[in-house]
């Protein structure tokens, strides 16, 4: 399922002194099965844009095409459920959305809202809890007695249980320890690879973009200022620094080496690529070893 933005603008509280333009003529194209990253400063409009992906917000101008539905400023709020089922959003700090007595009920809540029977919803709950890396014994526990990281997993399982075609992640690893962060990002990668799930990742971490995404949109002040494959976007290190966005660690390190005379055809994005390059320079071939 593709999601396409055509000249989408959004203004908060129009015609008041609090009026605020959040998005301006955004053009965006998220292809089925892609892993798209949205990056940009705080206040660049990422979160506003994200709420357009499943029609929580409707554009004040332009149109959003989600699969076969077209959302325009005049679309009414009825019958948006099918859209919301197809696009699952994991909001920032999703643990704040837990409310049921047990983990199982909470995960089953989403599917049940979309008309799946009680038993099937609990089957989904069981499966998805396993998927996010928690044991079955947690099913009957109260979500409020879990640790922060576990709550986050339960909340994500609750979104995954809706079996969305597109999964939108708003800084899913914010506030997690390094191991939890790694596990979670790898879990999303598996979903992307094995179930061919379309993923939209909003993040500040350029390493995650370099490691996982196949397309990047850079937002600034509500506008798309650059987009392309990560390789293309991270090529212009100076531009990214000027925008205070930074580059992946491996790229930053390679750039320092470049300043001291190392020659790259193209700056590496990941540690793997950097290591390959170093091996090559050492005379061997990375894939022969």
């Amino acid at each position: 399922m593709d999601i396409r933005f055509e000249k989408v603008s959004y203004v908060y509280q129009p015609n008041t002194p609090f009026e605020q333009r959040a998005l301006h003529e955004i053009e965006l194209n998220i292809k089925e099965g892609s892993y798209t990253a949205l990056v940009g400063h705080t206040g660049s409009g990422k979160s506003t844009l994200l709420q357009h992906l499943n029609a929580l917000l409707k554009p004040t101008a332009g149109e959003v095409t989600i699969g076969d539905r077209i959302i325009t400023p005049t679309t009414d709020n009825k019958n948006l459920k099918p859209v919301r089922k197809k696009v699952g959003i994991v909001f920032q700090f999703p643990e704040a959305q837990l409310f049921e007595e047990t983990v199982a009920k909470d995960i089953a809540f989403g599917p049940k809202n979309f008309g799946i029977s009680e038993e099937d919803a609990f089957v989904l709950a069981r499966e998805n809890l396993k998927l996010v890396g928690l044991d079955e014994e947690y099913l009957e526990r109260s979500p409020f007695e879990l640790s922060g990281g576990q709550m986050r997993r339960v909340a994500i399982a609750g979104v995954l249980a809706m079996e969305p075609e597109v999964l939108v992640l708003d800084e899913p690893t914010a506030g997690l320890d390094p191991l939890g962060r790694k596990e979670m990002m790898e879990m999303f990668w598996r979903l992307h690879q094995e179930k061919n799930m379309t993923i939209v990742l909003v993040t500040h971490l350029m390493d995650d973009v370099a490691n996982f995404a196949d397309y990047v949109y850079v937002l600034e002040k509500g506008q798309v200022v650059k987009h392309g494959e990560p390789k293309k976007v991270f090529e212009d290190v100076a531009w990214l620094k000027e925008k205070q966005l930074g580059v992946p660690q491996a790229t930053a390190f390679a750039e320092k080496m470049q300043a001291r005379g190392a020659e790259f055809d193209q700056l590496p994005l990941t540690e793997g690529e950097l290591a390959d390059w170093i091996l090559q320079q050492a005379g061997g071939n990375a894939h022969d070893e």
């Binding site: 499943n54 929580l56 919301r84 909001f91 920032q92 999703p94 704040a96 409310f99 989403g110």
Partner: protein, 265 residues
């Protein structure tokens, strides 16, 4: 939803009204609500209307805001006015049906009540639009201070008030966030009958309560860690200053009262 709520919001500005001492504004607003009941004929209501509009003009805030403040209460106003019109008898009787009647007295009374509502809303909107919430809680603390003698915990009340005011926008944001998260999980907050609507609020209320408890605990810990031990022996960072213009405002209100007494019949 929250975006449309204008009542209780502060619009930064630098008008005469903005610069007034919040205590003066608070006292004047309450005083105004008191004296509005003195008015009982057209001249007195006209005078009050001009008085209020002049205050609105001084605040340099566009009139549309005040009208928007009236909007959420419009049904209440219409309901009250209709009741007055339909159930008051006296003067010329134009129409009657059973207990209902439409008389000149009734119409007059209804219109007076309408004016009263609108003027009170205008004045209180003026107070909230021009006074930052924190100054308001300072003003309340300062005004309640004499009641300390009667063992009223004034400091605690003011503290709770300022914390509550501080967290109103935060909680609003949080409400909106959780609402969005639940809508994304298929909750419909506007659909269905009354019971379904009430049920739909549960996934919103529980997380809000839980996060409020957590927030309260964190805040209490942080306050203790910074040496908060209650009201005794604390100094103040924000000091209220009573200027000549504040006295002047109260004098104007007193003068208005005298004029009203003359105008009323």
């Amino acid at each position: 939803m929250m975006n449309k709520l204008i009542f209780g919001r502060y619009i930064p500005g630098d008008s005469l009204i903005h610069r007034l001492d919040p205590r003066a504004k608070l006292v004047a607003s309450f005083y105004f609500i008191g004296i509005i009941f003195l008015a009982n004929n057209w001249q007195s209501y006209l005078f009050l209307a001009v008085f209020t509009l002049f205050a609105v003009f001084l605040s340099k805030i566009s009139l549309s805001f005040f009208l928007r403040g009236v909007r959420p209460l419009i049904w209440l106003i219409i309901f009250t006015v209709a009741l007055q019109m339909l159930f008051t008898r006296g003067g010329t009787l134009y129409w009657s049906w059973g207990v209902f009647s439409l008389s000149s007295y009734g119409i007059q009374n209804g219109l007076f009540i309408f004016c009263r509502f609108v003027l009170i809303i205008f004045m209180s909107t003026l107070l909230t639009l021009t006074t930052p919430p924190l100054s308001m809680s300072d003003a309340i603390e300062s005004l309640l201070n004499p009641l300390k003698r009667f063992h009223l915990p004034v400091h605690e009340i003011a503290l709770m008030l300022s914390i509550a005011l501080r967290f109103v926008p935060t909680l609003m944001d949080e409400t909106e966030k959780i609402m969005n998260a639940q809508r994304a999980r298929g909750v419909d907050f506007n659909d269905g009958n009354l019971i379904q609507k009430v049920k739909a609020i549960v996934p919103l209320l529980i997380p809000l309560f839980v996060s409020s408890f957590n927030r309260a605990e964190d805040l209490a810990t942080a306050m203790e860690a910074r040496g908060y031990r209650g009201g005794e022996g604390r100094s103040k960072y924000r000091k209220l200053k009573w200027a000549n213009r504040d006295t002047f405002v109260l004098v104007v209100f007193a003068a208005a009262t005298i004029i009203l007494i003359f105008l009323r019949s």
